[in-house]
């Protein structure tokens, strides 16, 4: 009990301090760091780094900040960004095993490559300009080719399908962008302690990039102060989500692997970042002990939670929070030091199995058809097992329905015929008005803008599967529109499936937490999932063909003009006279034969004692013609014998 109180005192002090700050006229800038670890059902471990940096609305500092990165605040001021999110992702989120109905996955499961969306606080006419400038600025800031999103063919302006209702929203994604350390380093530079101290010191590049999924995200939103004369505050949220495979020595396949921070990252946490207001490590265990003992007050019970027959934590948690289906252990890393580094470990003693909560419908998308002319895109929604239990069903007119929003961008070279939209629910074709609640289509313009499809489906709750298919023609690109890269095909960015009536949140019973990570989990977030990126093979011209044609044409020209000039230049009469004056040199068959044998034997021809330029040129021409005839004859003979059998 005593230890509990002791751990409470600093927290209380901190809280009172916070209250004082909140009510004071001048808020200070705040930075907090957190790391959430979560074992996944398929023997992997998820690590979610969360850094939050708040700059309160103030004009006292002018353009200067204490903690807040200047680059970001300049960005916000210059382009008047109201809200923005940028994510770099490598690998695919496994919705089946890693969950799809918790705030973590709905916020951090991002499409492959780069995704950027932003809401601007400028007049409607300037939104596109701001977007273009923003992409360039971010491109420089993050060492990525985000500037490709500048072209109007690569972004769209979703109205309601994206989840945020705003007409000043722009959305774009680059599925082909490779993500590597060069993107992580500038991202880390925005943190006050970089990766030198605190939780971010764990980010050992090889281990972070060895993971199965890697997504670094930057989300910023401005907070209006509401007061005259004050600027707006900015909240910058930086997260890095990695899914790692702990190395195991045990051969048992049903046993969950045991791990520690040092085995996962190859590093340990040595103290917190001194500039951080709070720095915590959380461990979330899903699917256990949710319903058992209700009161955790007694020491023994609490002890049982982290050292029991199932598993064993290497450190004692400072607090334990419970949610309906999961347990959250909270560790404060302030106490760790060089001599006593924070190295949390989890040892499993018994095989255990659980499953993550999944989104009501699981979405897959694929291409249909064959050939280079046309095809179809199909989105398949399959009911998951957990669909029945989920809240968020809407009962209208006595019918229980699930709402699903689909938001999809089509690049212009995929010419979609929107009238071919077909919807099948449980293998029955439905007319549009039966299931389609709302639809918004903006067709693409060739080489100018990309197409966009937003639709809201209202499916019956007992739906097993739903399929949407839409046909398209493949376009032809102009020669300079082909990227200079290797020809792999062209990408169709991920579609976004969101469920507007379902919201994911973790509801911890205790109201103690003031941690930004937990409060962000507590907020109701829209359940969304991204589909796969598709690869469309387009007709690609053989770019080496022009080269071949040029070479052949030049050869023919050279032969033609060479011989023509030769003929024109030759003066027969003059030549004959010259030959006569040369005396009775035998220029007949004999010499030609000797030349021929010399040629055949590959020996240099002995230089003729007296060769006139005219004779030389005539010899050259005859040699050339002889060569051509020989080669053509050989080719024809070879062809004839090789095919005529």
């Amino acid at each position: 009990m005593a230890s509990l109180i002791r751990s409470w005192i600093p927290l209380l002090i901190l809280q009172s301090f916070l209250v004082a700050i909140a009510f004071g006229s001048k808020e200070a800038e705040e930075f907090s760091e957190a790391l959430l670890l979560k074992p996944l059902p398929d023997r992997k471990v998820l690590a979610h780094f969360h850094f939050e940096n708040r700059a309160p609305p103030s004009n006292s500092h002018g353009r200067h900040h204490h903690l807040f990165p200047k680059a970001i605040s300049q960005l916000v001021q210059k382009f008047r960004v109201k809200e923005m999110e940028l994510s770099f992702t490598q690998g695919r989120w496994n919705h089946e095993h890693w969950g799809g109905f918790d705030p973590l996955s709905s916020m951090n499961a991002k499409p492959v490559g780069v995704e950027l969306w932003a809401v601007f606080d400028v007049p409607q006419s300037q939104v596109d300009t701001s977007w273009k400038n923003l992409t360039h600025a971010l491109s420089g800031l993050f060492c990525a080719s985000i500037n490709f999103l500048e072209s109007s063919t690569s972004y769209a302006a979703p109205t309601w399908g994206f989840g945020t209702n705003s007409d000043k929203l722009r959305y774009g994604s680059l599925p082909r962008e490779a993500v590597c350390t060069e993107n992580l380093t500038p991202w880390l530079k925005l943190l006050p302690c970089r990766d030198k101290d605190g939780i971010s010191a764990l980010m050992n590049r090889p281990s972070v990039y060895r993971g199965f999924y890697h997504s670094q995200r930057l989300h910023l939103s401005t907070v209006e102060s509401g007061q005259e004369g004050l600027g707006s505050g900015i909240v910058l949220e930086q997260t890095l989500t990695v899914v790692l495979q702990p190395e195991t020595t045990s051969v048992e396949t049903n046993m969950q692997p045991s791990w520690s921070l040092s085995s996962l990252f190859g590093r340990k946490v040595v103290g917190s970042c001194v500039l951080a207001k709070s720095s915590n490590v959380y461990l979330q265990l899903e699917g256990r002990l949710g319903h058992e003992s209700k009161n955790v007050d007694t020491e023994i019970e609490a002890h049982k939670l982290w050292k029991n027959a199932d598993f064993d934590l290497s450190l004692k948690p400072d607090r334990v929070l419970r949610e309906s289906s999961s347990l959250l252990f909270i560790f404060d890393i302030d106490k760790s030091s060089d001599s006593e580094p924070f190295d949390l470990g989890l040892t499993w003693k018994l095989p255990s199995k659980w499953s993550c909560q999944q989104a009501p419908l699981q979405a897959t998308r694929f291409l249909m058809g064959s050939g280079n002319e046309r095809g179809a895109i199909a989105i398949l929604l399959k009911a998951t097992e957990s669909q029945e239990k989920l809240p968020g069903r809407v009962v209208t007119d006595g019918r229980c329905t699930i709402k699903a929003n689909i938001f999809q961008i089509f690049p212009w070279y995929v010419k979609v015929y929107y009238h071919t939209l077909q919807i099948f629910v449980d293998q029955q074709q439905k007319t549009d008005c039966e299931v389609l609640k709302k639809i918004n289509v903006s067709p693409s313009t060739d080489k100018v803008s990309s197409g966009m499809l937003e639709m809201m489906l209202e499916l019956p709750c007992e739906v097993k599967s739903a399929a949407i298919s839409i046909e398209y023609d493949k376009g032809f690109l102009h020669i300079d529109e082909y990227p200079p890269d290797a020809n792999q095909g062209f990408d169709i960015p991920s579609a976004l499936i969101s469920f507007p009536s379902h919201h994911a949140s973790l509801d911890f019973q205790e109201e103690l937490s003031k941690s930004p990570l937990l409060s962000s989990f507590k907020e109701k977030s829209l359940v969304r999932s991204y589909t796969e990126v598709l690869l469309v093979p387009l007709t690609t011209p053989d770019f080496s063909m022009p080269y071949n044609v040029i070479t052949i044409t030049c050869t023919i020209f050279a032969l033609y003009f060479g011989s023509l000039l030769n003929v024109l230049r030759r003066r027969i009469g003059e030549e004959e006279r010259f030959l006569k004056s040369q005396g009775k040199k035998t220029f007949g068959l004999k010499q030609l034969l000797s030349r021929l044998t010399a040629k055949i034997r590959g020996r240099p021809i002995e230089p003729p004692s007296s060769d006139s330029p005219a004779a030389q040129s005539s010899f050259l021409s005859s040699k050339l013609i002889f060569k051509i005839i020989l080669v053509a004859g050989a080719a024809a003979a070879w062809q004839y014998f090789s095919t005529d059998n």
Binding site: T364, S469, A486, R601
Partner: protein
């Protein structure tokens, strides 16, 4: 029951590897003759209304997701396996792929997903793969009765893994006759389409230089022992040697054995392409522009020897791993220009730029001869004609064109006739059907001759079309037909040109030749008779059967010919169209010229 147990066992094995597993049911009936479906793509999965649960196949497929990949592309491994009476050799192929699959599930270098398809080969090798591909690329979202059959519930998930980059079909069969393990590569897909040469090269390189397989491609065995080819080969060898002595840099001479081998392989390659029937399950992939080849491995030991099995697994899996790794590491597609080629050995090929020359030279004579004949014919007409209608001089060819057109129309009808014969109710043997076809065609031909004036070769009117003009138009038609065919299926056009061009060039009316009794014209008449006899499609079929070592079969020839044609149209081979619409009319026209009354 046994089949279900096997399927579940394989599925369990795959999921233990960490793969996503699913089962797919399909119908054994596949190919139906649709007269106008020749150049259409693979048709969407049309399910029959009354589906019987009595016979259906089940494919098992597993997908390994690349750990860090983006899921845009995939590589497919296919092992056909007969779940009911699969032999030891088939089990070996499962073993090799299984070994490889368990390795791939653990490696970190994958950037493309791997799909392993265990195709239910009870209904042939091709059909299950084609059914799976149809489901993959053009599924029907409608309700199907098939899904409800059996206890195995397959409705839940058919999984996909992006665009296919390449596919490898692995089969193990028979014991190798050689000392080494043998690997045969099959590449020809429908209508003479070939996979990218790079895929063959990769497999060949890895098999020969890394794993020590003896690699071979199909060849015409009877050519290996033919003496005339041997003589040509010896001449080439001698010429090569002579050239080498003259100039040590000239090394184009090849040994006779190599020449024989190359020619036999080339002939087989040409024949398989010309036939237009895929040589294995890989053909189904080509319909979706996926490069695929079939690898048929023959081990040198009996399948039950446990000691050698290990080594064989290791080498087979290493070969496949190397190939998969090569494709996996490619950021781009295979280069687009290596699709048109003929193989002369697993490591040598003749590219389109070279083999087109032979065909072009063969065909180039046709328009020239046509032009000269036309001029001759016009002159002859002007001299002999009674009516002085000089103003219609340029329309001389119209009569001949009518005749040519009529016979081509007849060819089209004959081509479509089998479809209607198939619709005739009742069970008929192939020979009966071929008799039906033969009688209807010949009666149609008689009607054509009777109704269209000047068409018949037996009409006695002397002022009919001039034979020279008729020949000129025939040659033009043959030229156009051959050129068109060379675009669709080059090998067919090449073989067709070898038959059609000499016939068209040499044919002349037989009556004047007999009348003149000159040796030269008699010889010409004899040659044209021989060529025309060979040129008749049925005759050609019999000869080719004989050439491939199956011998003449007398009366059942008609039946076999029918079966052969049926297989051609079932596989949507354009060769069938060529025979019906180019070869047959031209042959008939040549016959008309031969018996021309002039």
């Amino acid at each position: 029951m046994k089949a279900r147990v096997f399927q579940k066992l394989i599925g369990k094995y795959m999921s233990e590897m960490g793969a996503e597993v699913y089962y797919q049911k399909f119908h054994p009936e596949g190919n139906q003759f649709h007269p106008l479906h020749f150049f259409s793509g693979p048709d969407s999965y049309t399910l029959l209304d009354n589906v019987s649960c009595a016979s259906y196949g089940v494919n098992v497929a597993g997908i390994i997701r690349a750990p860090r990949g983006d899921g845009k592309e995939s590589i497919v491994l296919v092992t056909p396996y007969d779940f009911i009476n699969g032999g030891d050799y088939e089990a070996l192929s499962l073993g090799i792929t299984g070994t490889l699959f368990s390795l791939l599930a653990r490696v970190t270098w994958l950037s493309k997903d791997i799909i392993w398809l265990v195709a239910d080969s009870r209904y042939g090798d091709y059909r299950p793969v084609a059914a799976w591909l149809t489901e993959y690329h053009s599924p029907s979202f409608k309700d199907s009765d098939l899904l409800k059959c059996g206890e195995l519930n397959t409705a839940d998930k058919f999984r996909r893994a992006g665009t296919m980059a390449a596919a490898l079909v692995l089969k193990v069969d028979g014991r190798s006759e050689r000392f080494e393990d043998t690997l045969s590569i099959y590449a020809e897909a429908s209508n003479g389409q070939m996979p990218n040469l790079d895929l063959i090269n990769v497999v060949n390189y890895l098999a020969v230089h890394r794993q020590g397989f003896y690699v071979k491609v199909e060849k015409v065995v009877s050519l290996l022992s033919s003496s005339w080819l041997k003589i040509i080969g010896e001449i080439f060898e001698a010429v090569g040697k002579l050239a080498h002595t003259l100039n040590p840099d000239w090394n184009f001479g090849i040994p006779t054995a190599d020449y024989l081998e190359g020619s036999a392989t080339l002939a087989s390659s040409l024949y398989s392409q010309a036939l237009g029937i895929p040589t294995g399950p890989h053909g189904a992939f080509r319909d979706y522009q996926v490069d695929a080849i079939t690898l048929k491995v023959s081990p040198r030991f009996p399948p039950d020897s446990k000691t050698r099995q290990h080594d064989f697994f290791l080498r087979g899996a290493k070969l496949l791993e190397g190939t998969i790794r090569s494709v996996n590491n490619l950021l781009e597609k295979f280069h687009q220009s290596f699709f048109l080629y003929l193989l002369t050995s697993p490591s040598k090929f003749i590219s389109v730029g070279v083999y087109m020359i032979a065909f072009a030279l063969l065909v180039a004579s046709l328009p020239m001869v046509a032009a000269s004949l036309y001029i001759d014919g016009c002159k002859a007409l002007n001299n002999s004609t009674l009516n002085p209608a000089g103003n219609f001089k340029s329309w001389k060819w119209l009569d001949a064109a009518k005749q040519v057109f009529a016979l081509h129309l007849f060819g089209l009808i004959v081509t479509l006739l089998p479809y209607f014969i198939c619709q005739v109710p009742g069970q008929h043997s192939p020979s009966n059907r071929s008799i039906m076809w033969g009688t209807t065609s010949s009666s149609l031909l008689l009607i054509t001759f009777a109704t269209i004036p000047g068409c018949s070769p037996f009409s006695s009117r002397r002022h009919g079309t001039n034979w020279a003009v008729l020949k000129s138009v025939t040659i033009s038609a043959a030229f156009i037909g051959l050129c068109l065919m060379s675009i669709i299926n080059f090998a067919t056009a090449e073989i067709g040109a070898l038959l059609l061009v000499p016939t068209c060039l040499i044919v002349q009316p037989i009556k004047p030749a007999l009348r003149s009794r000159r040796i030269k014209s008699l010889l010409g008449a004899f040659c044209s008779m021989v060529l025309l006899t060979i040129g008749f499609p049925v005759m050609l079929f019999a000869i080719s059967k004989g050439l491939f070592g199956e011998g003449l079969v007398g009366l059942s020839l008609g039946g076999e010919f029918w079966t052969w044609l049926e297989s051609l149209w079932a596989w949507k081979s354009a060769t069938y169209l060529y025979i019906g619409m180019v070869h047959l009319p031209c042959w008939l026209l040549c016959l008309c010229i031969l018996f021309h009354p002039s």
